[in-house]
């Protein structure tokens, strides 16, 4: 009993079988007594069986009928045999056509490959059982395996299978001897086609099943015409490129990348897969100090290449920091983060990006044109993954046209270029190769690699140069809360927040204000690496002298972690540096309320600029400078509260004085 769960409403068709109908037409022509391939009898010991055809006749007929060359006729003939419409009488296991005197015969239509009836395993089991009953030991290895497995899976109907096998055998015996021979040949050929021996290429292999029967004639209803019309309209509307242009682009690409192609150019110093020497991988690691010349050369190809390579991006970031225009790149990376990040954090990230980069008076305001800004802000009402695409593209083009050119001429790049190494091709002797092979070791586990990277980043965060403008809190547009940049060293109190030169994911600073983290923070865990493997990557090497410092330090340290939880500052970390009057110590009671407030935290950046120093108009109503009480919980509500300035997204409702939690 076969379970047929799916009633076949024509829902499962095999895609490559469209040709079957056409092949059948060819076969019908071929076997025509007058105009088809001429047949001859096959002589066996005791009888002759008619209707055998030779391979060369088949090929000649095909070449003649379709006016094609002999090779093509051979291929066509091979296809006929592979599909099982013609079967060889000698060498029955190889489904090819030999254009000589070897004999073939047409397969009876009952055994033709059919679209609508997939070949049943039950029938195969019966066939194998029949052959085994007829003569023990006749089954080949793969057939025996199949037999055993079928016996296992069809155990419940095995008795029937054996019974049917016997009956079929008896029924077959009722026929005349030559017919029996013919039938046996036919059946054998059928199963060679549909259950090929292992290792042979079967013409019956097909991919996924289709929903539409490719052999069915489609009825030309109005719906059919409607679809045809739509299809042709869309074809007309498609943008086209002149072939000279596209070919020119291809040629240019080929010329540029010729030496970098892994197949066309040898791998320097040597291909690790071939020589077991991993120098190549070592030299090209993600955050290597000194890149290779080839790598640096790639950066000059296009801006996209530069950004795609993490080392290149790091170099570029360094350059931008020196130029004090890192916000563009930071914004671009923030957008990437949004695009590729998890869906759960998307909303918050979008908000955060807006507050940091796009809003008026934002700490790291980027300069995009009005129209794009308008579109983006509108889109942010219902944020999704690609809501910042327009702005991101704009900034990308800006960087490409402006900063990229300058970068390529800058001393930073020239220095990198000069220092880049050009390894020599290895020339290993045979013994050396063997020695290399013996020295093969598995590489580090990815977990350890990630931890190392985090530690590395944390270390670099503490040791990077200082970006002055980023730190000047009263000069806009980028206030001190360099959320996305910079590490915080264990610096003295008025904090200058250094930037990390090589921190590649600026946006990933987080204050993940989990209670635990806060508590830990409050304990003033200083020093140490941020080498925790948890997502948030808490860096804690901040002195506890200033809470802001601490918080920021943590912020910034975490910013270098691969985890890309969006940055936010909690209200507990109001403006750093010197604004002691404004320093609001974190009230301990806030610790226990992590979840709602965490969300609230994410949504705020408190810019604690004293009113008198405010340069940019803030459109929020946080005139009141109450104590920096923490915000209350609904995510996304920009409640004005506290002395801290908030940047509120304009679409958010302004709910003053939301209580905490």
């Amino acid at each position: 009993m076969t379970i047929r769960n799916v009633r076949d409403h024509g829902q499962r068709f095999r895609p490559r079988m469209t040709c079957l109908k056409k092949v059948e037409a060819v076969i019908l022509e071929m076997q025509d007594p007058k105009t088809g391939v001429k047949s001859q009898p096959q002589r066996l010991v005791i009888t002759t069986i008619p209707h055998a055809i030779t391979g060369e006749d088949i090929v000649a007929w095909l070449a003649n009928r379709y006016s094609i060359q002999t090779e093509e006729a051979c291929t066509l003939g091979r296809m006929l045999v592979a599909f099982g419409y013609i079967y060889p009488l000698q060498d029955h296991k190889r489904l090819i056509i030999k254009p000589d005197a070897s004999l073939y015969r047409f397969q009876t239509p009952y055994f033709w490959p059919a679209q609508q009836w997939p070949v049943e395993d039950t029938d195969y089991a019966i066939y194998l059982a029949k052959r085994n009953i007829r003569k023990k030991g006749i089954l080949e290895m793969y057939e025996q395996e199949q037999y055993n497995s079928l016996h296992k899976w069809m155990n419940h109907k095995w008795d029937f299978i054996v019974m049917q096998a016997k009956e079929q055998y008896r029924a077959g015996k009722e026929r005349k001897k030559p017919d029996r021979v013919v039938f046996d040949c036919q059946e054998r050929a059928y199963w060679v086609v549909h259950r090929p021996p292992p290792g042979t290429i079967s013409a019956m292999d097909y991919g996924l099943e289709r929903m539409v029967d490719p052999n069915a004639e489609e009825k030309q209803t109005s719906d059919f015409f409607r679809r045809t019309i739509i299809f042709t309209q869309q074809s007309i509307m498609r943008p086209r490129v002149k072939s000279s242009v596209s070919i020119g682009a291809l040629v240019k690409y080929s010329i540029t990348y010729n030496k970098h192609d892994p197949f066309l150019a040898p791998c320097l110093p040597s291909n690790p897969w071939l020589t077991d020497d991993v120098t190549y991988w070592m030299l090209n690691m993600t955050n290597v100090e000194i890149p290779t010349k080839m790598r640096v050369e790639r950066w000059t190809f296009s801006f996209g290449e530069l950004l795609a390579d993490p080392r290149g991006r790091a170099d570029f970031t360094l350059f931008l920091k020196k130029e004090f225009s890192g916000e563009n790149l930071a914004f671009w990376e923030a957008c990437e983060d949004l695009k590729w990040g998890t869906a759960a954090t998307m909303n918050e990230k979008a908000q955060q990006i807006y507050k940091t980069f796009l809003a008026r008076g934002a700490p790291r305001w980027i300069n995009i044109d009005g129209k794009t800004m308008e579109v983006t802000v509108k889109g942010l009402k219902h944020p999704h993954r690609y809501v910042l695409d327009a702005a991101q593209t704009h900034i990308f083009m800006l960087m490409k046209k402006d900063s990229y050119g300058r970068y390529l001429k800058s001393p930073v790049f020239k220095e990198t270029q000069k220092r880049a190494i050009d390894p020599e091709q290895h020339r290993f002797s045979v013994t050396q190769l063997e020695a290399n092979a013996k020295k093969r070791r598995p590489s580090l586990s990815p977990i350890i690699v990630r931890q190392q990277e985090e530690e590395e980043r944390a270390r670099m965060a503490t040791s990077g140069p200082v970006d002055i403008t980023q730190l000047c809190r009263f000069t806009a547009p980028v206030p001190h809360l360099a959320v996305y940049s910079g590490p915080l060293s264990s610096p003295p109190f008025p904090l200058c927040l250094p930037h990390t030169p090589a921190c590649p994911s600026p946006i990933s600073v987080t204050i993940d204000s989990t209670p635990a983290s806060e508590r830990r923070w409050e304990e003033g865990v200083g020093g140490g690496e941020g080498g925790e493997a948890d997502q948030v990557g808490e860096g804690t090497a901040v002195s506890s002298r200033s809470r802001m410092a601490l918080s920021l330090g943590r912020l910034l340290r975490r910013g270098c972690s691969p985890s890309t939880v969006f940055a936010s500052l909690s209200p507990k970390f109001p403006a750093p540096a010197g604004n002691s009057s404004r320093v609001q110590p974190i009230s301990t009671d806030q610790i226990g309320q992590a979840p709602p407030r965490r969300i609230a935290n994410f949504f705020q950046i408190k810019v604690d600029i004293p009113p008198e120093c405010r340069i940019y108009p803030i459109d929020s109503e946080d005139e009141e400078e109450s104590g920096g009480a923490s915000k209350g919980g609904g995510g996304g509500e920009g409640g004005g509260e506290g002395q801290v300035k908030e940047i509120i997204c304009p679409w958010e409702s302004l709910t003053p004085h939301e209580g905490a939690g």
Binding site: P109, H156, G172, R175
Partner: protein, 260 residues
């Protein structure tokens, strides 16, 4: 006194009732046994008819096709139909009566599974037969040109006779109309569906009674059908004639054996 009489009467009545019950049960058991045996024979018959049908259906569309072949195939189909419906009629109540724990429950379930498999197999063959007859009609004179030259002859009397010799194990069943092909297929479809819904038996629980590598001990004259001889020559090695496998009603089989 009266009491004694009454008790005796009661006892006697009770004894009698017990005896009746016992007799009834025995009778029931015997009936059931007979019915199960009938179903088994019917299943064998179905198997035989299906095999013959398949043998004939393989020639449809080939040069050995002819209207007489198609007639014979239809006759075989009618026979199959008869056997199927009869078996269906008998088996369903049998199964319905089966209580768990009954001795022959395994057997009956086996019959059920095999019947279903046989029905499916037959249905598949019917589909193919129908499709092929549509594809290769024989009405026009020129249609014979389209038939594929397969090298087989159009001698099917042996097979047809084999099929016709199937004895329906029960006599006196009402003669039903032989349905035409399409109706037949839909009927089988409906039968299968209905059977699946009516009785819920875990198919996979049925075990085979045969081992994996059954040898046909009675197919001793099989030596003349060795595979390797089919390729170039047919070596006729006549086996032992005594162990003729064919059932008693095989007239032609012995002739064939004689031939080789």
């Amino acid at each position: 006194m009266a009491n004694h009489l009454g008790t005796t009467d009661d006892e006697q009545a009770a004894c009698q009732a017990q005896m009746n019950r016992w007799q009834r049960t025995v009778g029931e058991i015997q009936t059931r046994k007979r019915q199960v045996a009938e179903c088994e024979r019917a299943l064998e018959a179905l198997s035989k008819v299906t095999a013959c049908f398949q043998q004939m259906a393989t020639s449809v569309g080939s040069s050995s096709d002819s209207s007489s072949l198609r007639e014979k195939t239809n006759d075989t189909r009618a026979l199959a139909h008869k056997v199927c419906t009869g078996l269906h009629r008998k088996l369903v109540p049998l199964l319905a009566e089966t209580v768990p724990g009954q001795e022959d429950r395994d057997k009956v379930e086996q019959l059920w599974v095999h019947f279903l498999t046989g029905l499916e197999s037959l249905q598949q063959d019917l589909y193919k037969f129908g499709d092929l007859t549509d594809r290769f009609p024989l009405k026009q004179k020129n249609d014979r040109r389209a038939l594929i030259k397969t090298g087989a002859s159009d001698e099917f009397s042996g097979v047809a006779a084999q099929a016709a010799s199937t004895q329906s194990p029960w006599v006196g069943t009402e003669v039903e109309q032989n349905p035409d092909l399409k109706t037949h297929i839909t009927q089988i479809d409906a039968m299968i569906k209905e059977m699946l819904q009516k009785v819920s038996i875990p198919f996979w629980a049925v075990e085979s009674t045969q081992e994996a590598w059954t040898e046909g001990v009675d197919f001793s004259d099989a030596a003349d059908d060795q595979d390797e001889t089919l390729e170039v020559e047919v070596v006729s090695q006549d086996g032992k004639m005594s162990g003729c496998c064919h059932p008693p009603n095989c007239k032609f089989g012995c002739m064939l054996c004689l031939l080789t």
